[in-house]
C-alpha cells in the first residue's frame, strides 16, 4: 500500500496530484516559503513557539466531547473534536498561527488571505493583529453578504477586506484575487492560504499545521474508547484542511476516513482532474475546462476544488468522500443544537449530517465508534440560519 500523508515528493506531488502551477513570478516566493517551512518545521524552537501560542492564545488542546444524547439516539458512539472552541471559532487559527509565525520569521510585514465563510479571514486578521502585521483579506461579494458578521470582525481587527466581484463572487474568485495581489506584492507579503490547496508547499504545510487536530484527537479518543481508535473518522471538506489535519492523526490506524463534501461543491465526489489555484487536483468543471461555480449553503465549502492530497486519498481508497445536501445540513445544525447544546458552523454540520444519515446503515453500522471533527462554531451563520430554518 502506498504510504500516504507524509511529505509530498520534491515537486510537491501527492501521487498524481499537487505540484506548483503558478506563474513564474511566484516561483521564487514558493521556493523560499518551502525552504522556510522546512527549516522552521525542523526547528524545535519554532515548534515550541507555535505550541505556546496554540496553548496560551488559541485555546488548545480543544476538548473532545462525547455526544451522549445523539449517540444513544443513533446507536453509535459519537465523539466530537471541538474546533468550534478554538479562538476565532474554527480550526482555521491553527494554520494561520503557523503561517503568521513563519511570515514573521521570513521578514514579511503583511499577510493576504482569501476567505469564504470569513473564518480564515478572521483568523488571518487575528494573527496579523497579534504579530503586528498588516492584513488584507479577499472575499467574494456574495460571501460578504452572507457572512457580514465576519466582515465586521475583520474590520474590527484592523484588516482590510477587499470585495471580489469577479466570477461566482465566492471563495474561488477570492483566491484568484489573492493570488493576483500576491504576485504584485510578493516582496513584503506572505500569502496566508487557508486550506490544503494552492501550490506546493501549501497543501503539505497547511496539513502539517492542522495535524494538531488529529494528533490531539488520537490521544483523547484513546482515553474514551476501549478499542483505542474509532471505527470511523469524519470531517467536512471544503479545501480540506480540517479533514486533512484530522485524518493525519488516524491515517496509520484501521479507522475508516470519511470526508463530507457539500453536494453542490463536491470536487472529490464529482470533479475531474484539473489545475486550479496552483495545484493539480480534482476540480468541478465543464467539458471545456471552465471551472464550475460551486453551490453550497456553507460559504466555506462553496469551492469547486479540493486539496490534492484528498484527491490522492480518494483515488487510493484510503479515504471515502460523500456528499450531503443543504437541507440535510440545516436539519443537522438543529439536531446537534437541540441534543447536545452545540451550535456548529454550517460547514461542520456537513459531517454531522452524514453521520445522521449513515448511522444504522451499512455505511455506519450500529455500534460503530465515530470521531467527528466539528471544525467551527455557528455564530457566523445565524443570519443565514434564520432564513434557512424559517
Amino acid at each position: 500500500m502506498t504510504v500516504v500523508m507524509r511529505e509530498p515528493t520534491t515537486d510537491g506531488r501527492f501521487g498524481e496530484y499537487g505540484g506548483r502551477y503558478v506563474p513564474e513570478s511566484l516561483i521564487p516566493a514558493c521556493l523560499a516559503l518551502e525552504e522556510a517551512f522546512r527549516e522552521a518545521w525542523a526547528d524545535p524552537g519554532f515548534r515550541q513557539e507555535l505550541d505556546g501560542y496554540r496553548r496560551t492564545y488559541a485555546g488548545r488542546p480543544t476538548a473532545l466531547t462525547a455526544a451522549r444524547n445523539l449517540s444513544a439516539e443513533l446507536g453509535i458512539t459519537l465523539l466530537l473534536k471541538r474546533e468550534d472552541l478554538a479562538h476565532t471559532g474554527s480550526h482555521k487559527i491553527n494554520n494561520v498561527l503557523g503561517q503568521a509565525l513563519l511570515a514573521r520569521r521570513m521578514g514579511k510585514t503583511r499577510l493576504i488571505a482569501e476567505t469564504g465563510a470569513g473564518q480564515h479571514g478572521v483568523a488571518t486578521a487575528t494573527a496579523a493583529a497579534l504579530f503586528g502585521l498588516r492584513a488584507t483579506v479577499y472575499m467574494g461579494e456574495r460571501d460578504i453578504e452572507r457572512q457580514a458578521l465576519n466582515v465586521f470582525r475583520m474590520h474590527l481587527l484592523g484588516a482590510e477586506v477587499v470585495p471580489v466581484t469577479s466570477g461566482s463572487r465566492t471563495l474561488k474568485d477570492a483566491t484568484n484575487e489573492a493570488m493576483r495581489n500576491w504576485v504584485s506584492a510578493v516582496g513584503d507579503t506572505h500569502f496566508c492560504l487557508g486550506s490544503v490547496a494552492g501550490p506546493h508547499p501549501y497543501p503539505w504545510m497547511v496539513r502539517e499545521f492542522q495535524r494538531v487536530i488529529g494528533e490531539e484527537a488520537r490521544g483523547q479518543v484513546a482515553g474514551e474508547l476501549s478499542t483505542g481508535v474509532p471505527d470511523v473518522v469524519v470531517a467536512c471538506v471544503g479545501g480540506g484542511s480540517n479533514a486533512a489535519g484530522t485524518f493525519a492523526g488516524f491515517v496509520d490506524t484501521t479507522a475508516r476516513l470519511v470526508g463530507v463534501e457539500a453536494a453542490g461543491g463536491a470536487a472529490v465526489s464529482g470533479g475531474e482532474p484539473g489545475v486550479l489555484h496552483g495545484s493539480r487536483s480534482l476540480v468541478l468543471q465543464d467539458r471545456h475546462g471552465q471551472v464550475a461555480e460551486a453551490q453550497s449553503i456553507a460559504a466555506g465549502l462553496d469551492y469547486p476544488g479540493v486539496g490534492p492530497e484528498h484527491a490522492q486519498l480518494g483515488g487510493l481508497g484510503r479515504a471515502t468522500y460523500v456528499t450531503v445536501t443543504d437541507d440535510e445540513v440545516l436539519v443537522a445544525v438543529r439536531r446537534l443544537a437541540e441534543r447536545e447544546g452545540i451550535i456548529c458552523a454550517l460547514e461542520s454540520a456537513h459531517a454531522v449530517a452524514w453521520v445522521l444519515r449513515a448511522a444504522g446503515t451499512v455505511e455506519l453500522p450500529a455500534g460503530s465508534t465515530v470521531l467527528l471533527t466539528l471544525s467551527g462554531r455557528g455564530d457566523k451563520d445565524m443570519g443565514q440560519l434564520m432564513e434557512g430554518l424559517r
Partner: protein, 267 residues
C-alpha cells in the same frame, strides 16, 4: 497559418509587435485578428478564455468573462481560428487547466504556432513541452523579474519561438509607465539567449512599446487593446491602434515623445 514562430519572428533589429486578442470577445472577433495583422503585427496572441485567469488584471478578466458569457468555448474559438486566413502566426495564451483538457493536437489542428501557459512554470511544463514539440507547436516560456539567473538560463534553454519577459511583478493590465524591471529583465534575458525577447504585461502606449523594443526585441500589447474593444472599438479602429504601435516601433520614436503624437487612440 503554418508559419512557425521562429520563422515569423526573425531578429532583424526591427522590434517585434505581438498584439493580443481574447478569443471570442465579440461575435466577429476574428476580424480583430485580421485587423491586428493589417496593423502590422508580427504575430498575434490569442487568449483562450478561462474562468479563473489568475495572472490577469481586470481588463483581460472582463474580456474573458465577456467571451464566455457570449457562449464562446475553446472549441468554438479554435474552430473560428482555423477558419481565419492569417499570414502571421498565432500564439495561444491560456491556463494550464484548459491546455490539459484540450491537448496540443487540437491547437495544432487549428493552425496555432505557439503556446503560452502562464501557470505552467519550468517544474510543471516538461510534459507539455514534449507534447507541443510533437504537435509542432512552440511552447513559449515566461520569465519574471523575480526569476533568478539559473532559472532564467533554463527558461531560455527550454523556451521555443521566443521568451516572454513579464515586465513587472503583477498581473496583466494597463500601466502608466513601463516598469524599470522590464528593461532589467530583458537585458538579463538577452545576455543568455538568442531567442527573441518579447516584453509583455502592461505595455500600454506606443512609447512604452518603443521602450520595450529597445530593451528587448519587441512587445506584446494586450490589455490596452482589449480595453478598446470592450469599449466598442471596431476592427478598423483596432487596426489603426495596432498600426500606431507598429509605426512607433519602426521609427523608434523616443519614449520621451508625447503620447498624443504616437497614440493610435485618435477616434
Amino acid at each position: 497559418m503554418t508559419t512557425t514562430l521562429s520563422a515569423a519572428l526573425p531578429l532583424t533589429g526591427r522590434p517585434l509587435l505581438v498584439p493580443y486578442v481574447t478569443g471570442g470577445i465579440t461575435a466577429d472577433w476574428t476580424e480583430l485578428l485580421l485587423a491586428c495583422q493589417d496593423g502590422g503585427a508580427d504575430a498575434i496572441e490569442v487568449g483562450l478564455p478561462f474562468s479563473d485567469p489568475m495572472l490577469d488584471g481586470p481588463t483581460i478578466q472582463e474580456a474573458s468573462d465577456r467571451a464566455l458569457a457570449r457562449g464562446a468555448t475553446v472549441e468554438s474559438i479554435l474552430a473560428d481560428l482555423a477558419a481565419t486566413p492569417l499570414r502571421v502566426p498565432v500564439v495561444v495564451m491560456t491556463y494550464a487547466n484548459i491546455v490539459l483538457r484540450i491537448g496540443l493536437p487540437a491547437l495544432a489542428a487549428a493552425g496555432v504556432s505557439g503556446l503560452i501557459v502562464p501557470d505552467l512554470p519550468l517544474e510543471e511544463s516538461a510534459a507539455t513541452e514534449a507534447a507541443a514539440a510533437a504537435a509542432g507547436i512552440d511552447l513559449v516560456l515566461l520569465a519574471a523579474p523575480s526569476t533568478p539567473d539559473d532559472r532564467l538560463r533554463e527558461i531560455c534553454a527550454r523556451s521555443r519561438g521566443f521568451v516572454y519577459a513579464i515586465s513587472v511583478m503583477g498581473t496583466t493590465g494597463e500601466r502608466a509607465r513601463l516598469a524599470d524591471s522590464a528593461a532589467t529583465l530583458a537585458a538579463r534575458l538577452k545576455a543568455v539567449t538568442d531567442l527573441p525577447v518579447l516584453i509583455g504585461f502592461g505595455v500600454s502606449t506606443p512609447a512604452q512599446a518603443v521602450e520595450a523594443g529597445r530593451a528587448g526585441d519587441g512587445a506584446v500589447i494586450a490589455s490596452v487593446l482589449m480595453r478598446r474593444v470592450l469599449d466598442g472599438a471596431t476592427a478598423n479602429e483596432l487596426a489603426a491602434d495596432v498600426a500606431a504601435y507598429r509605426t512607433a516601433l519602426d521609427l523608434g520614436v523616443s519614449p520621451g515623445t508625447p503620447h498624443a503624437e504616437i497614440s493610435g487612440h485618435r477616434g
